[in-house]
Amino acid sequence: MSDFQTHFASDSEKLEGWNRPAMIAPDGDGELLEVAMGPHHPSTHGVFRMDVALDGERVIRLKPVFGYLHRNHEKIAEGISYLASMPYTDRLDYICPITNNWAYALAVEKLTGQEVPERAEYLRVILGELTRFQNHASSIGFLIQEMGASGTPLMYAFREREKILDLFEELTGARMMVNYMRFGGCRVDASPVWLEKARQVVESLPQFLDEFDRLLSSNEILMARTQGVGMLPAELAVNAGVTGPMLRASGVNYDIRKVDGYGIYNRFNFRVPLGDHGDVYDRYMIRLLEMRESLTILRQALKDLPAGPVMDPKAKIRGFRPKPGEAYGRIEAPKGELGFYLISDGGPNPYRYRVRPPSLINLTILEDMCLGQNVADVVLIFGSVDIVLGEVDR
């Protein structure tokens, strides 16, 4: 049997009651056209394949296929120490390495009960919000590029992203694979020179956001292509485990920064933008608004940053053996809820190390959103989910 036939011969029609994708009856009596979009594809955000069955232009069936970037991160982590897994977490969602590091450090700190000094918490928030900003900027840029804007908004977003990456390189030594968080704090302290540069970058970003807004938000072509496309109802989103900007675009008020209040997020005054319709345009607008909220948090954090150490003085770099037990720690990563589930057996290596990848779980309802739409919209809907294959496949 070909790959397609194995995919589409599933028994999903037999199940009653679960939230399965609606069946669309094809018009006419011709055969369905089966198209494999990917893995070599300029718009699939990485090595990702969608087996699409089309009736003319309408999507009848869509099955995502991935695993092309599977690097067995979870098994490698069982063989190396807790600290040595930290650089591997950089490479999960490689656009936002800081938040990956943070989620892992949070999970380990939940497991051991370590305390994080206040200055380290503020630095985590500053770098985390900078990461969120550059992630949303690239995500919007890539979405617009897939719409055919041939790179102009993307390059404007990347121009600002370069400023943020320069900040990361100056602080941590690497633009992307930062390896910055440690269990009990941060690896390196931020000098006053760096903080001044960070303030200047944060001052320059609102102007970019206004420009970006003027460039895109009232563009008629963008609105015609994205409004009403890829609607996701709120109950289905919650039931399918969707998190992050996708969930909030469907109108569900669930931001882990507000719900869990991890770190010191309870001290900051910021709003959570919510969407009305749950279509691609709402997801684009949510990301734009979240970038503004990130700047609000950044200004507050840079103002209130206290002096002090950045590492828990009792933290051990070598010979770190947490007591037996398990913990699940999660944060609001730019893509959704990024969680780490660790089971420790008292040894230097984790017994079970599990990454809860937001991109993978957000893809659960990709089929639901794309059914009945035109194949050209599949690329847009997929772009609005904002996935990174490093996280999906680990």
Partner: protein
């Protein structure tokens, strides 16, 4: 939010006959879990999702864990009748000796579910299910009909651990290719070592690569270098 004991009593009150056991979590996180027997899981899950107070409508994470067979050495006091000479007379005497007996505790595969509530903003509630063994009875009911987010995650556990989820709409491999045999995340997985030549290998890796080169081309390569035009 209710404590683990309260949730247990609520489940036992709502679903008659449900066997729920609290699995304590020794770490500081305090995230104790509830172990469910596979028979009643679907009813318990529906109750947890629809109950007015708990409203656990959001399944965040599904994890597979492999607990392999454990060899346990126990000291057992064994009483035996032994022939012994006592005062020059052969007699049957009862002797109590301590012996170490080894037995194998069967392993199992475990699936852990982390539930949160979007409406009530509380969580996590941790559920666990265990298979009977790791070989022929490695199946569990699927929770995809209750929470759709389990769809891909249970597929991944099937792919990497070999747990068969009964009632899953589309149980295929997720990350590995469809014709792959074996379950990579299990603790006793043996990696294949017939990978292609690794340029900067040394000691054990180099020897292995040289052996494979020799097997491929019929003659040992120089430092493992593939010969030009050698059949691959």
């Amino acid at each position: 939010m209710k404590t683990v004991e309260e949730i247990k009593s609520a489940i036992e009150a709502a679903v008659l006959g449900a066997a729920v056991e609290i699995v304590p979590n020794p770490s500081v996180s305090g995230q104790h879990s509830l172990r469910l027997a596979p028979g009643y899981v679907l009813d318990v899950a529906k109750f947890l999702r629809d109950d007015a107070e708990l409203k656990l409508d959001f399944l965040s994470n599904v994890t597979g864990v492999d607990w392999p067979d454990k060899e346990v050495a126990e000291k057992v006091m064994v009483t035996r009748t032994v022939a012994k000479t006592v005062d020059g007379v052969e007699q049957q005497v009862e002797e109590t000796v301590s012996e170490t007996r080894k037995r194998v505790e069967p392993g199992f595969l475990e699936v852990v579910y982390h539930l949160y509530s979007v409406e009530k903003k509380h969580g996590p509630v941790v559920l666990r299910m265990r298979t009977v063994n790791r070989t022929d009875q490695a199946d569990l009911p699927s929770l995809t009909p209750i929470w759709r987010s389990a769809e891909f995650q249970e597929r991944e556990i099937f792919d990497l651990y070999g747990v068969i989820f009964a009632g899953h709409p589309d149980l295929r491999r997720l990350l590995m290719w469809d014709n792959f045999k074996d379950f990579p995340m299990r603790r006793d997985y043996v990696e294949p070592d017939d990978f292609e030549y690794e340029p900067t290998a040394h000691d054990a890796v180099l020897k292995r690569a040289q052996l494979h080169q020799a097997a491929l081309t019929g003659q040992p390569g120089e430092e493992g270098r593939p010969e030009m035009g050698a059949s691959q």
